[in-house]
């Protein structure tokens, strides 16, 4: 096991471990892409990578800096229109895992990627939904990746872009959402998981060197902590070697 690693490296390794072989993953750029390719190199050689740009079964020979990189097309299994991506793959329930991030995440795993401040008078205008809203609705399960800090995990979102386990008091079931929604939030200090009964995000495991108090101090709501907190193993030497020397040697996303 490595002892010298960055929080980003740990997050990528933890995310990669979530992926089973042959699963169909809707891949985002950055840490999700690194996590998927790390999983492919270790336990999930037949992971199927789908990008919202229409590349299916991509095997990028370089690190893609956008989800429409030409390296995602060359050597892929299929290229399809975006209408097919969203209707035949995503809405049709074929995507098993979706990755999401966001500027703000609340206790139910709802995400804001739209605006800080008021929609009509924004302090900071963010990019918006992209495919996030529909990934949150339809992927069989969603993994959120985000670094912890109080502004990123507020008590109230400024805008609800992508639905989590409970939106404005209603459950996913009540709202008729097909997918299981965000079941884990992979942070830089530990893992939150949605409570199977209430859907609330609960601290369930810590990374080496972190305490529950540190995590709670970075979350804007009274964070519940599981009685028996898990301990997440640090990155293995293999994980670190792949991330640093093969997957992101220029530290584009592991900086």
């Amino acid at each position: 096991m490595a002892s010298d690693y960055s929080p980003s490296e740990m997050m990528a390794a933890v995310a990669a471990r979530e992926l089973g072989d042959r699963e169909v993953v809707f891949v985002g750029i950055g840490l999700p892409n690194l996590a998927c390719n790390l999983a492919r190199a270790i336990q999930a050689p037949d992971l199927v990578l789908i990008y919202e740009s229409g590349a299916v079964g991509a095997v990028p020979e370089r690190l893609p800096v956008s989800i429409g990189d030409p390296s995602l097309v060359t050597g892929s299994l299929m290229v399809c229109s975006m209408a097919d991506v969203f209707q035949l793959f995503l809405q049709n329930g074929k995507i098993e895992v979706g990755f999401l991030g966001g500027a703000q995440i609340d206790r139910w795993g709802n995400i804001n990627t739209t605006v800080i401040g008021k929609y009509d008078k924004p302090k900071v205008r963010l990019p918006g939904s992209g495919g996030a809203a529909e990934i949150a609705v339809h992927a069989q399960r969603v993994l959120i990746i985000s670094r912890l800090n109080p502004r990123a995990f507020p008590a109230e979102l400024d805008f609800l872009t992508s639905p989590g386990q409970r939106c404005k008091g209603k459950t996913r079931k009540e709202l008729g959402m097909p997918g299981a929604g965000p079941i884990k939030v992979i942070t830089d200090r530990g893992i939150l998981e949605s409570d199977p009964e209430t859907g609330e995000m609960i601290l369930t495991a810590l990374y080496p060197g972190n305490t529950a108090e540190e995590v709670k101090a970075n979350v804007g709501w009274p964070l519940r902590v599981r009685d028996h907190l898990g301990q997440v193993a640090p990155p293995t030497a293999q994980e670190i070697d792949l991330l640093r020397h093969k997957l992101d040697p220029q530290k584009l996303f592991l900086g």
């Binding site: 229409g54 956008s66 060359t74 975006m82 609705v137 805008f159």
Partner: protein, 301 residues
């Protein structure tokens, strides 16, 4: 039949008018910057610009004062930062810009409805979110079989759609490979269509492989032959994406004066795409695609 091949200058002059609803599509791949630059040079204004990802080209058009309104689903500079002209317009109102916002699926569905000449498209989406709260054009319909409520978006039918393709014949029968985005739907939804190609080919090339045709000439009004017309976006098999320029845009667009200087030099300061390319001869060396040919298939019977 008469050729539809015209210059970019001629195509924009004839088909893009002040106040038009304009779509330049292409998802990362085949975004036709050359057309956007010509629209800026011809100083079109009051345009309603629609795209899933405004990308650098709409950021430039917003900064140049062409846009009255933006209809979009993701306004960022992928992997590199923000679209700062867009942000200045939305955050500070300089210049003022109306926005109408969907998700990617919503924008794709709007164009699918437009292309099918249906007034709306149904989807399972948006439940519990704030998108329908700020955008009253996201509505619902009740399924006549199950009784369930589904989200709807209204058709988008642009006045003009500009798409890029690797090749077309002189009548606009256009073939594309690599990422296809939502170009087919955007073109079929549009009143007028401009196709910009890397390579003009004989009709026999198109007819040799009809399954590659994305856009039929019958819906095309103008064909523009513009090699490297998508830079800094890319054309699979022709040239790579200029990721360095996307990164550089963060710095250029953050400073309004710097952005105007960029437009002065690289848009107003050149007459056309050929001049733009002549100013930076190193691009071809850096970005020309390597050969990775596939085999043909048999169309015989």
């Amino acid at each position: 039949m008469d050729s539809k091949v015209v210059s970019m200058k001629g195509a924009i002059a004839a088909h893009v008018r002040d106040g038009d609803t304009v779509v330049i599509e292409g998802f990362t791949h085949l975004i036709n910057f050359a057309a956007g630059h010509e629209i800026i040079r011809q100083r079109r204004k009051d345009l309603t610009l629609c795209r899933l990802t405004p990308d650098l080209i709409y950021d430039q058009m917003i900064a140049a004062g062409c846009a009255k309104k933006l209809v979009f689903s993701w306004a960022g500079n992928p992997g590199a930062g923000s679209l700062h002209a867009f942000r200045r317009a939305v955050e500070k109102g300089t210049p003022p810009l109306e926005i109408e916002e969907y998700s990617h699926f919503g924008m794709v569905a709007r164009m699918s409805a437009g292309a099918a000449s249906l007034p709306f498209w149904p989807m399972r989406n948006y439940m519990g979110t704030d998108l329908p709260v700020v955008n009253p054009r996201i509505r619902t319909v009740t399924c006549p079989y199950t009784g369930e409520e589904l989200a709807t978006v209204p058709a988008l039918n642009p006045d003009v759609t500009i798409i890029a393709a690797q090749r077309a014949d002189r009548l606009g029968n256009a073939q594309v490979w690599g990422l296809l985005g939502v170009q087919k739907e955007a073109a079929f939804a549009s009143k007028r269509v401009i196709v910009v190609v890397e390579e003009l080919v004989d009709e026999s090339v198109i007819r040799s492989d009809p399954n590659r045709t994305l856009i039929p000439g019958m819906i095309v009004d103008a064909v523009v032959v513009e090699p490297w017309g998508c830079h800094p976006s890319y054309a699979q098999g022709f040239y790579d994406r200029d990721n360095d320029f996307y990164v550089a845009w963060e710095d250029i667009s953050r400073d309004a004066a710097k952005l105007q200087a960029y437009l002065d030099e690289w848009v107003h300061g050149v007459t056309d795409r050929a001049a733009y390319m002549a100013k930076q001869p190193e691009l071809k060396q850096r970005l020309t695609a390597k050969a990775q040919m596939c085999e043909g298939v048999n169309y015989g019977f």
